[in-house]
Amino acid sequence: MDLLKSLPLEHAESQPTDWAEEAVRADFPILATHYNGQQLVYLDSASTTQKPQSVIDALVAYYWSSNANVHRGIYRLSLEATRHFDAARLKVMSFLNAREAGEIVFVRGSTEGINLVADSFGRHRVGPGDEILVSAMEHHANIVPWQVFCERQGAKLQVAPIDDQGELIWDELNRLITDRTKLVAVVHVSNTLGTINPIRKIVDLAHQRGAVVLVDGAQAAPHLKIDVQSLGCDFYVISGHKVYGPTGIGALYGKRALLEAMPPYQTGGDMIRSVSWDRTTYNSPPQKFEAGTPDIAGAIGLGAAIDYLRKFPVEAIAGHEHDLLVRATDGLSSIPGLRIVGQAADKAAVLSFVLDGVHPHDIGTVLDQRGIAVRSGHHCTQPLMDRLGVPGTTRMSFGLYNTRAEVDAAVRAVAEVKELFRC
């Protein structure tokens, strides 16, 4: 127990005063849940965030009072549903600072956004001798679509390596982006390491050499200000459920000219202009890429989540989460035998660690008994685990509703694991 007492949990600096912790938590009904007689401590927002009441209400309100198919009926209810759906697209446009609504394609999530680009963008532009470059810290969602794509097109998949801190090695990246590189697919914030990648710099380099850039923004959108125009990227994907919105909805941003030139991804209703047995013509973006009835409720829910997030200055969210990240890093670092995995200079609210002699799943089980939800395993980044030489990690990730008390409880529970395993 000496170890527990010695943890530096009493920090000298004071809590940021501009963060209304209790009011924020009250917006998320699930946080009042109890497990094993203990209040839920949810530290797995990088997997999926909890939902504020306003998002839940928006879903219910849509089904309750506006449900109809979009872009079809001439009756009032359908027009109302269409108006809500279109408004949601404008919210996403504004959230990412795209130039126009036509640059925002609704998809099921980041994974589908990446698959769409791999399938549609590359089909006619990438062939034998060409290369796609991804980074060594990508999520499987930004690896496997490119593996399959490269195999199909006869192209080569290159991997930009990282250093032991979990940062891209710039010289290697510089060397690997060549005139053969057709597309660079890179994560904005690593879901395993928390590393924030220098997207603007990567985009400049790639554009100089004629490659387009797709950014996996799934983990960045809840923590950073996203401005696709200032980043200069060609494609950017987000998942609604990681920004306090519903599952099953996400968005792909693509530059208008690229989307115009790309063939459809899926085909069917809504994505067409006219259909006859002789000839079918396609709709303009974004409808060209949205075959079938879309997830109307999901889009409206995502819009509500963006409205919710925008109640807070992005600097306030980042400041609060940074405070939690620093506190957790300090607390965990004081536990002997514990190593933080991912020590980039620039990190978002994700913290991975390994503890000598204890497997991440055993840590996860002990923490769960304390009502503390963390992720254990490879985090869908198996090549990264191989690179780091660990079978998996335990990961804490923070959302705007987390508190210093929760961080302290989690650190204390990890120290208890050590006690239990006598390691």
Binding site: H359, H361, D362, T365, Q369, G377, Q382
Partner: protein, 157 residues
């Protein structure tokens, strides 16, 4: 403090086998081998068996995994020695019933199976449904080794 379920799950016998796994290594002259894999957590185990006539002479394992799967594999290598194939399969069945919390049938209860007693420290896993697969991974791997399906790793998913 730690609750009873956790204390039962991570009891001394389990932690001892995790820290110092018995029969860790590979048998060069193994007659039966198999690899088990849990894609959910990445746990991997390679099991090799050597026979002396009808009976198992030795079992060894390698691999990497959590405390539960490591201890379960270690206990398995001890428990199987001297068993025939049929006895090993019977033990496997009874073990899986033990860790999934199935009530033993009257015929099972009556049948004495001393080797099962060695495995009882793992019974605590029944309180943790998500961890049952960790305990059964070595036993699934055993079934695969016995049935000669060693070509592809047996998966828990």
């Amino acid at each position: 403090m730690l609750n009873d379920e956790l204390r039962e799950l991570y009891q001394d016998v389990i932690l001892d086998h995790q820290r110092c796994p018995r029969n860790f290594g590979a048998l060069p002259d193994a007659t039966h081998r198999a690899e088990g894999f849990n894609p959910l957590c990445g746990d991997r185990i390679l099991l090799s068996l050597e026979f002396d006539g009808e009976r198992i002479r030795r079992v060894m394992f390698t691999g990497a995994g959590c405390a539960i799967s490591t201890a379960s594999a270690s206990l398995l290598t001890d428990a199987l020695v001297g068993n025939t194939l049929e006895e090993a399969q019977e033990l496997s069945r009874r073990f899986r019933a033990l860790v999934t919390g199935q009530t033993p049938s009257p015929t099972d209860s009556a049948k004495d199976l001393p080797a099962l007693d060695k495995l009882r420290p793992l019974a605590g896993v029944r309180q943790f449904p998500v961890r049952v697969k960790c305990a059964t991974l070595p036993w699934h791997t055993l079934e695969s080794a016995i049935n000669g399906q060693a070509e592809a790793p047996v998966s828990t998913e």
